[in-house]
Symmetry: C2
Subunit: 249 residues, 2 copies
DNA sequence: GCGGGATGCTGATCCAAATCAGCCCGGGGG
DNA sequence: CCCCCGGGCTGATTTGGATCAGCATCCCGC
């Protein structure tokens, strides 16, 4: 593990994330870097994936943030999840013909295109990596479920606290956050669409959390003033984020 | 397809459901019926799968209804989804070590135990069936996402209407419903826990929908008084339920 | 036949969050 | 230079749904 070439390979967010749970062999790391072959850039207004699209293409985020959402008749939208560096997006639409949601960048994004062929070849040649990818997908699903619980049964403040803690945990995996806080490009409108609140209310909730000395979210920076207190307020149990790795192989 | 033995095999809810999307060969149908080898019964109070459990076992529902849910500190719970005959449950916990939610029967249930070994052998020997199973899993995920949208951005009445229409569509696939309605064993408390409402409010919403002449839900029977009107009221778009089948193989 | 536990139903009240309306600030473009 | 526009911020008012309280019914065990 001291070979500098390997260290370089390990440096993509995807590799960092997967390495946190499965010990990847040099061959696996090579395959990961191979997935990053076809780099593309997306500007903020653009669409990476859209409802009804029929290409079978997925992406791995290399840098920047994106969000996946559904639009309702009536114009409102619900953000299902945010994608951070190292995350897959559109994984499901590689295997199936059509996508049922949209994905769009929140910041300028660099992403690598992954085709069905790429994915199948990874699955065939490096089963250990395949298992890691499945693990990541299953973790994403667990996050959607937790998000559902947020919307169904938690108060606005709990939701917000829970959400910020989850983001923090995810970003730490790729080295973009620590216990102190992280840089966050989300506007209050985006938070509102994700948390099922109005933007006005998001503002008030953030103020309350700040006044209680728990978190400060200002100028694109989230700062945990009292991490443990926030965990308490959100009744945040990170079990759903670090469930055990895959057993296959 | 006129061989009576094949017709019998086709008669499990799982086979019916999968056949609606992938044309299953006789060998596939045999493999399906093979999954039903280890039949088990569960009574209403029992736990089929529970948070933190470490067995790698999944089930296919043969008869009866179940629900998967998460309990929050504070005692409230959020039902993530209902499982109907023909549905898998705990599929994710076969591949990963621990389950992050509970599954319990709503009515007496007959289910077939499926081990990791069974599943892997199906994947290896009948790829067409494997693709169908993946398709079903992906459809379940799409339903969770739609449920999330429900909780985040739809009013109580829209949620209820949407939910009843979705249930109807799912039950039709296994021959347990038609355009007129279906038998539904869910109590108003269960509806409340699924829709993120209080039981009291569920009652009122059901009354409103009834008084508007849209649906009647009484005595364990859901009757669509005005199907199209309900679709309208729910802005129900079933695209997410019948996305295209898998392309693999 | 009786008592008790679910479940359905309803009115009165309360509260969290939406909506409406408007302010301030900073940055980019004409 | 100024204007506009997106983002953050705030008060006043309204509203959807929760909570509390209580009633009726049915079913089941004894």
């Amino acid at each position: 593990m001291t070979d500098p070439a390997i260290l370089t390979l390990q440096d993509s967010p995807l590799a960092r994330k997967l390495s946190a749970f499965v010990r990847l062999a040099p061959a696996d790391l090579l395959a990961v870097s191979d997935l990053h072959r076809r780099r593309r850039k997306f500007a903020v207004g653009s669409e990476m994936i859209y409802q009804g699209q029929t290409d079978q293409v997925a992406f791995v985020l290399a840098s920047g943030w994106a969000c996946s959402y559904k639009i309702l008749p009536g114009g409102t939208r619900q953000i299902v999840d945010f994608q951070l560096p190292g995350d897959f997006l559109g994984l499901r639409s590689v295997l199936f013909r059509t996508s049922d949601h949209n994905v769009e960048p929140i910041t300028p994004v660099q992403a690598s295109e992954v085709t069905q062929r790429d994915l199948l070849s990874v699955f065939a040649s490096t089963p250990r990596l395949a298992a890691a990818v499945l693990w990541a997908a299953s973790r994403d699903e667990a996050m959607v479920v937790e998000h559902l619980v947020d919307l169904g049964r938690r108060s606005a403040a709990e939701r917000m606290a829970h959400f910020l803690l989850e983001l923090n945990a995810r970003l730490r995996l790729v080295g973009m956050a620590d216990r102190k806080g992280f840089a966050c490009p989300l506007s209050q409108y985006l938070l509102a669409d994700a948390l099922g609140l109005s933007a006005v209310h998001v503002n008030r909730v953030l103020r309350e959390l700040r006044e209680e000395g728990l978190v400060t979210f200002q100028k694109g920076q989230v700062t945990f003033d009292d991490y443990d207190g926030l965990v308490e307020a959100a009744s945040f149990d990170r079990a759903y984020l670090d469930h055990d790795g895959p057993l296959l192989i």
